[in-house]
Amino acid sequence: MKQFGRFAALRGVSAEFAAGRLYVILGDNGAGKTTLLRALAGLAHPTRGSISILGATDVRSVCHELGYMAHPSLLYDEMSGMENLRYFARLYGLADSSRDADNMTALGLDPALARPVAQYSQGMRQRLSLARALLNDPKILLLDEPFSNVDVRSARAMVALLAQMRDNGKTIFVVTHQAALLEGAADEFVWMEAGQITHRSRELQPVETR
């Protein structure tokens, strides 16, 4: 349970997720999706209850196996794309920058581009943010709205990349409003409402009207 003052963002979420799957988390605004993701990333500590990731109850101890991407870009506007990735690579103790360049290219970005991130289009920024999340080749990816403002073709390319990573053994959690994009690739859809998981399904069903 995660409580902010009198507002309980997550209420009694009790769930298990298996490795090597792509989970899509859906729900209206305020359902608690972002809070759940942040709790998994170790950014928000549950007020009550515990989290177990990769066999550890302390998320910090396995943080080098996590990749996190949020709605804000988590990038420095004043640096170029490559500079950003190089800096964050240092935070993970990675000195080799060739993989960063590969990641960028795989996402359709030019590693040699010297323009600061502030001048990127929103879609480019999203893709760079994803590249940052992939820096440390994490076993678990936590993505919050990765497709917002991304054009359809790039989004499909991203989905294909995610599916490929899942096939290679990564566990991926995607919070999105654009579930249709992931219809073919997702292993399971998880619906949340009012801070709880309401149901899970292997198929994307039409949203029930209430």
Partner: protein, 229 residues
């Protein structure tokens, strides 16, 4: 794929280098800070008549109060870049130790404030016709220790005030009471050197003690403050 764990000094160095590079690139902050420092010196010169006899006695205090104002303005923007786009989250998610971030920021602030001091000092010397009657070389360690005392706590409280409303006023509110012994030491040590009347030794020892104690406390408690969401 082999993964090296993040070396703390590597992280500190990389963060410091990044901060310095970004400061250099967008010279906005530096320019406005420099101009602000000049203004402070001029205002002080109008308020405290440089020709009066007493000025030499209080010059130590004047200089350090001016440095304090400049430091607060510099400290308030310590975390500004990390707040935009929530970059701080990216740091917290990574295995990089919190203390490395703290040290990088504190060292960056130290350099920044030191630059301001280096620019303000000749102006003060000029306006107040200051001359050191005591051992002038001691002013250097005094300046360094005093600046670190302000900067180390200032960086810590700047991080604390990230989690509050009225961020800009919380920093001086928290910093000033805690800094009083350091301020006393800085001012008295400087006055001792300028007037040559007393020895600055006790004050330098006090400043060093203050720095050791609070640097250790800051390093111990920073991780808690960083993760206090």
């Amino acid at each position: 794929m082999s993964k090296t764990s993040a070396i703390p000094s590597g992280v500190t160095g990389a963060t410091l280098a990044k901060d310095l590079r970004l400061e250099w690139r967008s010279k906005d902050a530096i320019n406005s800070m420099l101009f602000f420092s000049l203004l402070v010196v001029v205002v002080f010169s109008f308020s405290f008549d440089p020709n009066a006899e007493e000025s030499r006695q209080i010059a130590g205090g004047l200089v350090w109060v001016a440095f304090l104002f400049a430091a607060v303005v510099a400290l308030n923007q310590t975390w500004a870049r990390e707040l935009r786009n929530q970059v701080l989250d990216a740091y917290r998610v990574s295995p990089a130790p919190a203390n490395s971030l703290f040290l990088a920021k504190a060292l960056g602030n130290f350099i920044f404030v030191a630059v301001l001091e280096i620019l303000m000092t000749p102006l003060f010397i000029m306006f107040y016709k200051l001359r050191a009657l005591g051992p002038a070389w001691q002013l250097l360690p005094i300046a360094a220790l005093g600046t670190w005392a302000l900067v180390v706590n200032g960086t810590f409280f700047a991080a604390m005030s990230l989690r509050t409303r009225s961020r800009e006023i919380m920093l001086p509110l928290l910093l000033f009471p805690i800094s009083i012994p350091a301020l006393l030491a800085m001012v008295n040590a400087t006055t001792a050197i300028l007037t040559g009347e007393l020895s600055a030794k006790f004050w330098i020892v006090l400043l060093s003690t203050y720095n050791v104690v609070f640097t250790i406390v800051c390093l111990l408690l920073f991780e808690l403050v960083l993760n206090a969401e």
